[in-house]
């Protein structure tokens, strides 16, 4: 127990960093995902191609390579310098965004065409139709897949320890370097991740109930 007590401040620091990066990356991913999904559904070939390239690029490469690309690759060009945290957020956020793009696109397309026709026949613009009619219905259908991707992204943040971000995983390594208690510490770190993800799925099922279509 002593070791756990010793480790606690480190775990706290790491937990804060992990949660911060996860939340910012999640929001970035959702915004990018929504925009890209709308581009993907547009009839403009150029916009459509942009969204397709984005999705394929991020789905078709390992997230670790993406992390190295942004942190070492882009930074080496010299025209902008991202700190570790920014590079981490950008990587996890854009990676999640690629998956969100497909989830949102599929969700929007799953809504019956008659809904759009009814909305447009009442004089709603395309954007109003999206906002008031299609998205509220689509979001309900997307929630389970959203949750999945959010959980994956949360776990992906542990990779950021590789570039030295002081997240939960990296803090675990720090404690172990000082105490040599690999078994106990990794067990505790694992439990902390598990609890976070469990709470996330509780939140998701609460939201699913709230958005339920009667």
């Amino acid at each position: 127990m002593d070791i756990i007590k010793q480790a606690l401040p480190y775990i706290q620091t790491g937990l804060k960093v992990t949660i911060f990066i996860f939340l910012v990356a999640l929001i970035l991913g959702l915004v990018v995902g929504l925009v890209m999904a709308l581009l993907r559904l547009s009839h403009n070939k150029v916009l459509n191609a942009i969204a397709k390239i984005y999705v394929n690029a991020f789905r078709g490469t390992p997230i670790l390579v993406q992390l190295f690309f942004f942190y070492y690759g882009v930074n080496s060009l010299g025209f902008l310098s991202m700190d570790k945290t920014t590079a981490g957020i950008v990587t996890v956020g854009l990676n999640a965004g690629a998956y969100f793009t497909e989830v949102i696109r599929a969700g929007i397309q799953s809504i019956d065409k008659g809904q759009t026709e009814a909305a447009r026949s009442l004089g709603l613009t395309g954007m109003q139709n999206m906002r008031y009619v299609i998205l509220p219905q689509a979001v309900r259908r997307m929630l389970p897949t959203f949750t999945n991707q959010a959980i994956i992204s949360l776990k992906d943040t542990s990779l950021l320890s590789i570039i030295g971000i002081t997240d939960l995983t990296q803090q675990g390594q720090v404690v172990i370097a000082a105490t040599y208690e690999a078994f106990k510490i990794w067990l505790v770190i694992g439990i902390v991740y598990f609890i976070m993800i469990y709470l996330l799925s509780l939140l998701a099922s609460y939201l699913e109930r709230r958005f339920e279509v009667r």
């Binding site: 019956d112 008659g114 809904q115 026709e117 009814a118 909305a119 447009r120 026949s121 009442l122 004089g123 709603l124 613009t125 109003q128 008031y132 009619v133 509220p136 219905q137 309900r140 279509v213 009667r214």
Partner: protein, 242 residues
């Protein structure tokens, strides 16, 4: 001036030519029923009137404005054209009241209170006031369609389009919907009704268009068209449905 003028309207889906050359005029307060076999293009014709379908050729002029002109703001025109669909298309995530209030508040920027007041009046009119706070999923087909009519009326349209409004209903619910439509017609609404209800067309229609193969084959006042059809195709169709 007529409310709706259609001049040489053509509509193709790819290589398939659905409307070949449609011309007609519909006057204010006129009730026009469109009948014909399935695949004759009657629903497509109706959907061209508010440009739910892109128009391939010809002109559709609504109350003086040519909707085939790309400069015409179609959203503005559609505010004046209510549409009722075969499959209701109510918004399932909104209550009956919210369904009706959505367009007036978001498109016309009506206040919530005013929209609600008007919605309740419309619900009384279609006999659905007690269901105001329920969701579409809790209603029967006939009730859904009456709410859909109220939703379209909430924009105070000059024209109402009905696309086979009773075809998806159980037989015992057809009457309640036709009754509401009949009342609308009596109040002087300009209506275009694609329907298989020959009784309704005969009783309520001022004029009946018989469509087949992408053309208006014959049009006349209901009594004349039903009792004394001029074209062979009209006769053949009527002999099957009457």
């Amino acid at each position: 001036m007529s409310m709706i003028t259609v001049k040489h309207l053509k509509k193709s889906f790819g290589a398939l030519e659905v409307l070949k050359d449609i011309s007609t005029e519909i006057q204010e307060k006129e009730v026009v029923c469109v009948i014909g076999p399935s695949g004759s293009g009657k629903s497509t014709f109706l959907r061209c009137l508010n440009k739910l379908e892109e128009i391939t050729g010809g002109h559709v002029i609504i109350d003086g404005q040519d909707i085939t002109n790309p400069k015409t703001d179609i959203n503005k025109i559609r505010q004046d054209i209510g549409m009722v669909f075969q499959s209701f298309n109510l918004f399932p995530h909104l209550t009956v009241l919210e369904n009706i209030c959505l367009a007036p508040t978001k498109v016309r920027a009506a206040s919530k209170e005013a929209a609600k007041q008007q919605a309740l009046e419309l619900l009384v009119k279609v006999g659905m006031k007690e269901k105001a706070n329920q969701y579409p999923g809790e209603l029967s087909g006939g009730q859904k369609q009456r709410v859909a009519i109220a939703r379209a009326l909430a924009m105070n349209p000059k024209i109402m389009l009905f696309d086979e409004p009773t075809s998806a209903l159980d037989p015992e619910m057809v009457g309640e919907v036709l009754e509401v439509m009949k009342q609308l017609a009596q109040e002087g609404m300009t209506m275009v009704v694609v329907t298989h209800e020959m009784g309704f067309a005969r009783e309520v229609g001022d004029r009946v268009l018989f469509m087949d193969g992408g053309y208006i084959v014959e049009e006349n006042v209901p009594v004349a068209l039903f009792t004394n059809p001029q074209h062979e195709r009209t006769k053949a169709f009527l002999s099957k449905v009457l």
